[in-house]
């Protein structure tokens, strides 16, 4: 019985863990990360290890998706990323950060 309970508890923790981790939306609305002008996200100011980890994970996944689109259309991945940057900036909610052409952080 005890074993089953601790097993259940472990399972609950395992399921709950990803939810407790910082999500991109949260990080963006808190102003921790912003949309860089490269099509990827970046830390806006003094990132904690958790924020750095989120940035690395999200950017890795984005890179994979951009590469797939680039390959399908026979263009450079940077062209896809640049186009994505423009579109992502337009999608941001008020108060969220993005980088302008000169790399300065701006708040939408």
């Amino acid at each position: 019985m005890k074993k089953l309970l601790s097993g259940l508890l472990g399972l609950t923790l395992l399921i709950a863990l990803p939810a407790s981790a910082l999500s991109l939306k949260e990080a963006q609305s808190k102003g921790l990360v912003g949309e860089a002008n490269s099509g990827y996200i970046a830390v806006v100011q003094d990132g904690t290890p958790e924020v750095e980890k989120l940035v690395a994970e999200v950017n890795n996944k984005r890179k994979r998706e951009y590469a797939a689109i680039a390959k399908r259309n026979n263009i450079d991945i940077n062209q896809v990323a640049a186009r994505a940057a423009e579109k992502l900036e337009a999608r941001l909610s008020k108060g969220e950060y993005y980088q302008d052409n000169l790399g300065r952080w701006k708040q939408k």
Partner: protein
């Protein structure tokens, strides 16, 4: 009489000369010259536009699909 003949001839010559000049001036001169370089039609703009539209569509779909990373 002799002098008036000379005048007459001069006048005729003048009219002829004038006519010739007018005709020469009115003759249209259209010079058709073959281009020295081969004619190339640049289709890059259209192709780039099509790719851009396609990439935009794929990006929009991507943003919808992978909300966690966009």
């Amino acid at each position: 009489m002799k002098q008036s003949g000379i005048f007459k001839r001069l006048a005729v010559c003048g009219v002829l000369l004038f006519g010739g000049m007018v005709t020469a001036a009115c003759t249209p001169t259209v010079a058709v010259q073959a281009p020295s370089e081969p004619i190339t039609v640049n289709l890059n703009v259209k192709i780039e536009h099509e790719i851009r539209v396609r990439v935009d569509k794929e990006l929009d779909d991507l943003f919808e699909d992978k909300e966690g990373i966009f």
